[in-house]
């Protein structure tokens, strides 16, 4: 395959057409001191495709790939088994596009798939309506805060200490430009800050943002929080970073959450070095006109046949310009497709079963790890992820585990650097891909390192 089909006669002809004698003539406007005088030292010259492939394969072998070793990392991105059929189906030519349709009604298949996706997300979250997806969980979370501001006409958001710190960072970045005030706090091992948040809700509060399960894996009933929000005219936003959990847990919508957002990666989408992922976004029907993003609707055509459209587009910036509900004008098409296909293959029974396996595997792992002297599980409740409190700083322990070819969780010192006791926390995710042997290897290695 030729990647550089331009021949010297081609170049000469092109230069002649614009009246330049050689390539350097095209760069005369670049100041001489800004130009290179020689090749960059230490940067090798071009190499053959085979040599480059060999070089990069060797570099890649230095990685510890998730699939090659016992793997307990989570904290917002989860390794689940993805059936081969998912990857096969998403690559079919009829589906394969990363993009939202811009001439939507001619792409009925794409729209139908988005409609099915939205239906699945809405049912999973216990909401009336879901959109066609956002970039990822963190941006979906910020969009929910912005939407709550538009609905409540207030600017103060209370952020639970259990919200993923990366999501908090994204919110802070965006709030810098919108003037929203975010009340944030660090998590602590003893308890969540739900009681504190409930006390703080007042007539200035636009919303409360709660993660479910939270960053430490804890699970709380949101009903009282929702009631207090509604009494004060504020919205409750629930954030779900591990949607498989909802195969076992009561949905946030059923507990009164007004907007439910999440990260859809864990269903159908691989870890992929952190992206692209797929943001999930759902809300109560009465708020739909303030929703960001693309929304697919079902309708009937002129002949009375079922068809699909992109609807309520007047919220979007190609029509509403600067007054649009969001600057997103796309969706994560391919990842949403993978989510939807995996969810379809699972069905409701399959999702419940998958959730059950995750929880049972995680319980077994938690019991085994808690046997290690000095190690305790801080959670009263968890789904497939829990937090261990170690007798020592967790970060070097994670490194020592990696040296023994075990990816043993995410240290809280990494997520919350320089915050005292939190440095002893280790967030451990246990999904269906973890075997009893993996757990035993992890527990044995951890015990050796700590002794």
């Amino acid at each position: 395959m030729r990647y550089l089909p331009l021949t010297q006669p081609d170049r000469t002809a092109m230069l002649a057409a614009i009246g330049a004698t050689n390539i350097d003539d095209l760069f005369v406007d670049v100041p001489i001191e800004a130009r290179l005088t020689a090749a960059i030292a230490e940067l090798p010259l071009h190499q053959s495709e085979m040599a480059v492939e060999r070089h990069f394969s060797a570099l890649a072998r230095q990685n510890m790939a998730a699939s090659h070793h016992p793997f307990f990392l989570g904290a917002g991105a989860y390794k689940h088994h993805i059936p081969a059929s998912v990857d096969h189906l998403i690559q079919r030519g009829e589906f394969l596009t990363a993009y939202t349709p811009y001439q939507p009604e001619i792409a009925q298949g794409t729209l139908q798939m988005l409609f099915e996706f939205q239906t699945q997300v809405a049912r999973l979250f216990g909401c009336d309506v879901a959109n066609a997806s956002m970039y990822d969980g963190s941006t979906a979370c910020w969009e929910a805060v912005g939407m709550a501001g538009r609905i409540s006409k207030r600017k103060k958001a209370l952020i639970s200490s259990g919200l993923h710190p990366h999501y908090v960072s994204v919110c802070k970045t965006m709030a810098k430009y919108t003037g929203d005030t975010l009340d944030t706090a660090l998590p602590c091992f003893e308890a969540t800050d739900s009681a504190r948040l409930i006390d703080m809700i007042d007539s200035e509060t636009s919303c409360v943002v709660v993660q479910y399960p939270d960053i430490l894996g804890r699970i709380e009933d949101m009903t009282a929080m929702a009631a207090k929000c509604h009494e004060a005219g504020a919205l409750l936003i629930a954030v779900v970073t591990e949607p498989v959990a909802l195969g076992a847990l009561k949905s946030p919508g059923e507990m009164g959450a007004d907007i439910v957002v999440g990260e859809g990666q864990s269903i159908g989408v691989g870890l992929q070095f952190g992206g692209p992922y797929v943001g999930l976004f759902a809300c109560k029907e009465k708020f739909v006109r303030q929703m960001p993003g693309r929304l697919c609707g079902e309708t009937i055509d002129a002949e009375g046949k079922r068809g699909f459209v992109l609807t309520l587009s007047t919220r979007e910036q190609h029509i509403r310009r600067e007054k649009a509900t969001s600057n997103i004008c796309t969706n994560s098409g391919l990842c949403a497709l993978a989510f939807s296909i995996h969810m379809t293959l699972l069905g409701e029974c399959g999702l419940r079963e998958l959730a059950h396996i995750n929880h049972a595997t995680a319980c077994a792992a938690a019991n085994r790890l808690a046997e290690i002297p000095g190690v305790s599980v801080i959670n009263e409740h968890f789904f497939n992820e829990f937090t261990l409190k170690l007798p020592t700083e967790a970060r070097p322990v994670v490194r020592a585990l990696a040296d023994r070819k075990i990816l043993g969780g995410v240290s809280l010192g990494r997520l919350y650097p320089d915050n005292g006791e939190l440095e002893r926390g280790l967030v451990v995710a246990v999904t269906e891909v973890v075997t009893p042997d993996d757990v035993e290897a992890f527990a044995t290695a951890l015990q050796e390192i700590l002794s």
Partner: protein, 123 residues
């Protein structure tokens, strides 16, 4: 009749310190079938020329501006269930909101019916 018009195609009917605001028949005819109207709630402060309401048709979404400054006393709740009232009776039952004027002097710059008629014919 104490009815005035703006170049943005709103009408305002004044009754003492109170007034009713809507969009004109010409405006609704340009917008086409109206599918959604968002009206301000009571006690919202609006300022002359500022955003006060939103009207969405099958063709476009448009802002409706306050012809004068004041405090909203009532939004037309009927439009939520039946936004098409703006098409069928734009200058009557399809009104958007009522407000209390803060500066009746602001009415001076607005057009009367004849002036607005001439303005529309010139478009």
């Amino acid at each position: 009749m104490n009815r005035y018009f703006t170049v943005e195609h709103e009408w305002i009917e004044v009754d003492g310190e109170s007034a009713t605001v809507g969009i004109t028949d010409y405006a609704q005819s340009q917008l086409g079938d109206i599918v959604f109207v968002e009206v301000p709630s009571a006690n919202t402060a609006v300022s002359k020329g500022g955003d006060a309401a939103v009207v969405e048709s099958v063709k476009a979404a448009s802002d409706v501006y306050a012809p004068v400054s004041g405090t909203v006393t009532q939004g037309n709740a009927a439009l939520e269930g039946d936004p098409a009232l703006v098409n069928t009776d734009p200058e009557g039952a399809g009104w958007f909101f009522k407000l209390r004027l803060s500066d009746p002097g602001e009415l001076d710059g607005l057009m009367n019916a004849a002036a607005y008629q001439a303005f529309v014919e010139g478009l």
